[in-house]
Symmetry: C2
Subunit: 319 residues, 2 copies
């Protein structure tokens, strides 16, 4: 049976062009850019909580890094380095090779060097720590939203959540439609380019991992403001749009996790600049509402009347 060190060596050791010293010592050594600040984030994915244990390992590798890069994107940071702590119940060489392949496909696409890690035996879980760089005072924080700022969302909402609802037997879709949405669930796209483009424009930003209402709620709470969002303005893909009459619809669109789109705020003066970014990046950006000074998050109809919609974000410890 190969040793732990052989495993790490074989599957996870590649040249790390961003690093002074990569995998194989007590620590990796990194040289940050002169004067740059570092943005750092850690996320764990646990089997049977955050993903099915039989998930395709290549896709799992992609997703587990991508969701962490999404945090860097939400900060406006350039992804640079990552470490991986991988806990596996057994040594399955094929699984490890496929998983590492997915990790490196994502890492290569976003210019990230995997500079260290740990492999342990136990219940399957994955923890990435990612580090990016951002010039001082240019990070997109959660606490900068101001009254009268517009609220924007990238891409479309509810795709990943509807796919999950189907996979869990709570909804039905045709096989091709499920395949389309499953891409959003299993191989999400971290909005890195958008995060970089929003430097100097957005007053706050967050990535939508726990659902629009929960994540926008974090911006409101940290910024000490409230918001109205307009139900009919929420950006939907065709498949989710066609699902509007289903009881799962509101939950998917307003509280569905795993979309990893960015929700951000910006002064109305930047509206045209943001439309231009959408064109340039070929990425839908939709203004869905406005910040106001009074606390509270209201979902309104087109006439501005508050709708009685109750959903909350995903909570790992909720009953």
């Amino acid at each position: 049976m190969p040793s732990e060190f052989d495993l790490i060596q074989r599957h996870f050791t590649r040249t790390a062009p961003n690093a002074v010293l990569g995998v194989g010592d007590d620590c990796a050594l990194l040289q940050p850019g002169a004067g740059m600040q570092l943005a750092i984030s850690t996320d764990t994915l646990v089997a049977d909580v955050h993903f099915f244990a039989d998930t395709d390992p290549h896709k799992l590798g992609w997703k587990s890094l991508a969701v962490n890069l999404s945090d860097l994107a939400a900060m406006g940071a350039t992804p640079r380095w990552a470490t991986l702590a991988l806990t596996v119940p057994e040594v399955d060489d094929d699984w490890l090779a496929a998983f590492a392949g997915g990790v490196f496909r994502c890492a290569d696409q976003y210019g990230v060097s995997l500079v260290g890690g740990d492999t342990t035996r136990g219940a399957l879980s994955l923890t990435f720590t990612v580090i990016g760089e951002v010039p001082p005072n240019q990070a997109l924080r959660r606490d900068g939203a101001q009254p009268d700022d517009e609220i924007w969302v990238s891409g479309t909402l509810g795709d990943a959540a509807l796919a999950l609802a189907v996979l869990q037997g709570r909804a039905n879709l045709t096989t091709p439609d499920l395949a389309t949405l499953a891409v959003r669930l299993h191989t999400p796209t971290p909005r890195v380019e958008l995060g970089l483009a929003l430097r100097g424009l957005a007053s706050s930003a967050i990535d939508i991992s726990d659902g629009l209402l929960a994540d926008l709620g974090h911006i409101l709470s940290r910024s000490g403001v409230g918001a109205n969002i307009e139900y009919t303005q929420l950006p939907l893909g065709e498949i989710v749009h066609d699902y509007a009459a289903h009881p799962e619809f509101d939950a998917c669109v307003l509280s569905g996790g795993d979309d990893y789109e960015l929700c951000f705020t910006a002064p109305a003066a930047h509206h045209q600049a943001l439309d231009d970014i959408a064109t340039h990046l070929d990425l839908r950006l939709t203004c869905i509402g406005r910040i106001h000074a009074e606390p509270g998050l209201n979902v309104c109809n087109a006439q501005g009347q508050v709708l009685d919609i109750r959903c909350t974000g995903y909570d790992h410890f909720a009953a």
Copy 2:
């Protein structure tokens, strides 16, 4: 039941003096010192693999951070920041409070700011990622050992392993002796000050987490050299010394993990400087052997004859 966010907020959010922005956003923001390189390391501790699930949570908090700081020490880096990914089977407020207390006691002692984390539900495990700073070209790497360098070890060997052997029923000790050694097992001291003092003196370094032979073996392998170490020179505490006739003795001293002492090499010209460091830090430093050009790691008697001792380091995936 409190939400995930409440939990994190309550137990793990403290002021982070080393950070531009601490816990509570998509990422933390850090400002590295001008020109400094970063040393980064990740380690996971899994319940029932690396520690007993019923371990005192305060001690576990200390140890789980301390073993990561030990990697920074082995690199000669100044500890600065840490993130924690914590997976717990249930929300146990008392446990979390005690665990966080242990983490922060260690963090405060070594000047580390906890700048981020993730709390998830699942089988109990803890992953710390730690970051330290080191001036360019001063890091203590594993690949710098040269023929004729002396090999040194800090502190004493086998203490933690003997405590573990007793707790697992493979050896016996009096209650006071077990209590003495259990401190070494449960609340190890990362040799941070020693690592800093070794900058410019040591040609290579590693921390002893998997046993002397395995960890010194990593230095030899990365440096492309071999070594002779002298069995009678291995530094032992009184309790382990008195255990010399026991069948577990060699395994504890040569292959026992969890001591978190430093093993390092240095040119013989630095022998006196290292003795002076030992005095200054009030920490035993023992020269146990010498590097040679031929591959292989030999344990020799006082006459230089190679002893037939077969032990290997701890391997999480060994049969």
